[in-house]
């Protein structure tokens, strides 16, 4: 039984580390900042979960489980926020390769808002009418 659990722990830890490796490879191979944010947010959440599951089995103690759950929950809460903040700021810079996008339904909105005077009403934009698939 102990041997089985140890093997399970090893598998979980290695899979978890593999996910972090994938995140690293994604950061290197993706073309621009926005696609890189996908690599930075998705695989390592699963990697964390696998490593934590491995740790929980390895330590064989009930008291560490709340800490691990808490750490993972924090990861779930903070990873999307950081991706959003970096993406939102980066969209307005040259690091987002906007010319490679297939469609860009945010561009019009940003342009309208930034060309409007600083005070007064915000121009009304119907998001359905932007993009190449407008009907």
């Amino acid at each position: 039984m102990d041997l089985f659990l140890d093997v399970l722990v090893a598998v979980l830890l290695i899979l978890g580390c593999l996910m972090s490796l994938i995140a690293g490879i994604g950061l290197l191979t993706f073309p621009d900042m926005l696609t890189r944010m996908h690599a930075a947010t998705k695989p390592q959440v699963l990697g964390f979960l696998l490593i934590f599951a491995g740790l929980a089995i390895h330590l064989r103690s009930w008291t560490v489980i709340p800490v691990l759950v808490l750490a993972w929950a924090m990861q779930l809460l903070t990873a999307p926020v950081s991706a959003h903040m970096i993406g939102r700021a980066g969209y307005r810079t040259k690091h987002a390769a906007k010319e490679t996008l297939y469609s860009d339904e945010l561009r019009q909105v940003v342009e309208k808002v930034s060309s409007a005077p600083h005070t007064g009403t915000v121009p009304e934009i119907d998001p359905q009418e932007t993009g190449p698939d407008a009907k």
Binding site: F30, L34, H38, P80, G87, Y91, V122
Partner: protein, 210 residues
């Protein structure tokens, strides 16, 4: 927020100053689930869930929320545990799928990956649902939130690996499916009824066919 074209909605002005310039504070009735969460954090960090430690944690939680007040998080007052469990199971599966998807794109496609920025107008007008939809869709395959238009509950997403009009529509449908699942689990009673009475996307598609 100079949104003069749009009628303000009740919840949206709750956390800002109202017309009289009074800031609304959360009541204990609104806040107790969050206080419970803080007590759990305290117990987890001490690795000690004995009653004395928890009571001390509760005292500290109360002091903190009164010293550093934040805008109230308006919970809907409805929670369906069965749909929550279903949502969580589905979510875990999607997280695994997301990792595989990104791994495949990173290794095979690399620099050739093409993507889109799409606007998804949501049906809900609850901040909590918009926020949770944003979180869930960032962690599952394909998308993350670039920008939010709060007054119309529109999310602007970066959607990876989308390069045709059909796929854009499919992506939009996926997001609205996440919204449906979340409303089933934690949405308010009104929104739950509205979602239940709405045709599911699959039904609508078969209807449109001649």
């Amino acid at each position: 927020m100079p949104n003069k074209n749009l009628a303000p909605r009740d919840q949206r002005i709750d956390d800002a100053l109202d017309t009289a310039g009074v800031r609304h504070r959360a009541t204990l009735k609104q806040e107790w689930p969050l206080l419970l969460l803080l007590v759990f954090v305290w117990g987890a960090l001490w690795q000690d869930f004995s009653p004395g430690n928890l009571i001390f944690g509760a005292v500290i939680a109360l002091v903190i929320v009164n010293l550093f007040p934040l805008p109230p998080v308006v919970l809907s007052g409805r929670l369906n545990l069965w749909y929550c469990v279903k949502l969580f199971g589905w979510f875990l599966g999607q997280v695994v799928a997301a990792s595989v998807h990104v791994a495949w794109l990173a290794v095979v496609r690399g620099k050739k990956t093409r993507s889109s920025v799409i606007a998804v107008p949501l049906r809900t007008d609850s901040d909590l649902i918009v926020m949770t939809v944003g979180h869930v869709l960032t962690l599952i395959p394909g998308s993350f939130v670039l920008d939010v238009d709060r007054s119309s509950s529109t999310l602007y997403l970066h959607y990876i690996d989308v390069d045709s009009a059909r796929e854009v529509e499919k992506a939009r449908e996926n997001i609205r499916d996440i919204e449906r699942r979340l409303i089933m689990a934690i949405g308010s009673q009104d929104e739950y009824e509205a979602i239940k009475n709405e045709c599911s996307p699959r039904v609508r598609r078969t209807k449109e066919k001649p």
